[in-house]
């Protein structure tokens, strides 16, 4: 009887340990696409256009300038359109994210997962990816998305402050880039689905997404499409990653 108890205990402990450790195959898939999407060697400047579609409402368009320096964990986002949002901006310095509000001329400390301009797109899709620091990952087999064969990797949060504690990433086998991410709540309800529709190669083995679609799975017909233009990899001046720069843009 005692041996059965210990065997069961051993099995349960083993199962728990398995659940809390990373699956090496999944780790390899993630490290592979993160190495392609994290642009540590150079700065990136680009123009984003966000079109938010809601059922029975006119499309809402936002335009942003994005400045990225992945090597230092920095990015700056400046709203340029519409006039009501103009001058607003985000500054990310490591884990700290500040939203600048030109109307009150103040910086508000925000969660790094803040929604951009009340769309379905979060600030954490910009900048450097560090998924393995925040999630335990597990390979879940293969699936076909559109016409592409994909590896499916399940993410389970190991830190409490991530937006979507459970995620499923569909990573294209042919080039190792993610093309779809299903985002679930803690109780595994599908909340949002992200589609990386298109990528642009900015250097050898380095990519940036140029079309991205975020679908809200709870709100019927609500989705946000991002189009990225004018991607440049020239060095960005240091002062652009400062609060002073954001303040100056609103004047």
């Amino acid at each position: 009887m005692r041996s059965v108890f210990f065997a069961t205990l051993l099995l349960l402990t083993g199962a728990a340990a398995f659940a809390q450790t990373n699956d090496p195959r999944a780790v390899r898939i993630i490290e592979n696409f993160e190495s392609k999407l994290n642009l540590d060697a150079f700065d990136v400047t680009s123009d984003f256009t966000l079109v938010q579609k809601k059922a029975a409402e006119a499309d809402r368009v936002l335009r942003l300038n994005i400045y990225r320096r992945d090597a230092a964990g920095l990015f700056t986002i400046i709203f340029t359109y519409p006039d009501s949002e103009k001058g607003k901006g985000y500054l990310r310095q490591g884990d700290d994210l500040y939203l600048y509000l030109p109307t009150t001329r103040e910086f508000v400390f925000r969660n790094r997962k803040d929604d951009i301009g009340s769309t379905d797109v979060r600030t954490d899709i910009f900048g450097r990816l560090t998924n393995l620091e925040k999630f335990n990952v597990r390979f879940e087999g293969k699936a076909t998305v559109s016409k592409w064969e994909c590896d499916v990797v399940r993410f389970d949060a190991k830190v409490p402050d991530v937006s979507f504690p459970i995620q499923k990433w569909y990573v294209r086998v042919s080039d190792g880039l993610p093309i779809k991410v299903e985002n679930f709540s803690a109780s595994e309800a599908l909340l949002r689905t992200f589609y990386y529709v298109d990528f642009k190669q900015v250097a050898a083995g380095k990519y940036i997404f140029t079309r991205f679609l975020a679908v809200n799975n709870l709100e019927e017909g609500q989705r946000t499409l991002i189009t990225v233009d004018n991607v440049r990899t020239t060095r960005i001046e240091d002062y652009i990653f400062t609060k002073a720069y954001l303040e100056r843009q609103s004047r």
Partner: protein
Amino acid sequence: MGKIFSLAFKNAFRQKKRSVTLGVNYAVVTLLLLLVLSFSNGVRATIGNTLVRGTAGHLTISGEYVSEKRVLIGVQAYERITRTVKDLFPDSTVVKRYNFSSALYYRGISKRLSFIGVDAAVDQSFTGQLSFAAGSWEAFLAAPNAVIVPRSVAEYYGLSNGEEVLISRRTRLGAFNTGTLKIAGIHDTGNFFLSELVLCHFDFLQDLDLTPAYRDRFNAAGRETATTLFVYFKDPSNLTAERDLLVNALNARGFEASGPKTSNDAISAVTAASPRYTVADRDPNIIRLTVSTLDEVLGIVGTVLAVVNGIGIFITLILLFIIAVSIFINLRMTINERLEEIGTMRAMGVEAGSVTRLFILENTVLALFFSLIGTAVSLLLMGALTLFVRFPAAGQIGVILDAGKLVLVPTVPDVLLVVGLVTAFAALFSFFPARYGGRIKPVDALSSTY
């Protein structure tokens, strides 16, 4: 002196037209003052009762605690706090609430709602208060994921009783969590504070907010988490003293308890339910508590009432000024008409002071009589307003109504105060013209008559 009283009573109504004209002024002022005071009492009682049932206790305990370098809003260790309250006030009742705002989804439609989580087994605050259009309180008790929604919410979504809806919210630490709620009741309650009430079970909302994965970190034994605790007394007449006792007892048991430092602190005790946290510099094991009395929570209502009373008092002062002028003119005319009488009384040896007192008493009797008539009319009017007049319960003034009825609460001290005030005012402003009458020399009075 007795004869002066008797004479004054007879004289008060000798010139009927003039007496009635002045008396109507006294009656109107009395009526207005009583209406203002009764309205003020009624508003305080209505809002107090509904708030007590819905969102506040006789004492409301709110707070914040530090956990893992995060300062979180809520009351931690509520079991220990409840034991402290019960040790101190064995006859009191303590209920816990878990509240937050969250989006509710149904067939692709969403709306942000404020949810109140109750421990329905012991919290009877809403029993008998809700008017059900569908479902029942019993159905709510039967299902752990039950929700009672107002008719307006049901109509917005096109919901029927028994259907399931999805609730989605950011948890205490930022991750999204979702749950399925089952409609156990649709209510159509007239009470303004309860009309938009969305009621769930305490445990359901707590699980959703903390998530099973992190519940033990924020809700371990000895560190149970609620949004607020409400303490109810059988006799809530001395809440400030009871609050002070409780604060001392909580401090003695290791909490950092205090009363609200500002009126905003007290109001936020019943309105703040934010799950957001601020980052703490260190991680001390601190549980801060704010214990607010119902009067402090009602602070904003007190401000509104002060404005209502202020307007009423302003109107009353204008009326009193008009009365003062009327008294003056009226009495001077009376004195001029009664010079023969004054001259005769003075010639018979009546002293100047007695003549002055006679005229003051005449006006005082008149003021007393008509202020009593004003009181009677105002009580009748209030009775009629309460019994026969109905206002839309969900309208702009719904906050001061009880199921569409205007609540007016006249009290005996208020009636005595108003009648006394009007009478004293009449006596005061009669003094100067009456003194003038008393000082007229008999020879002057009689020579101007004959």
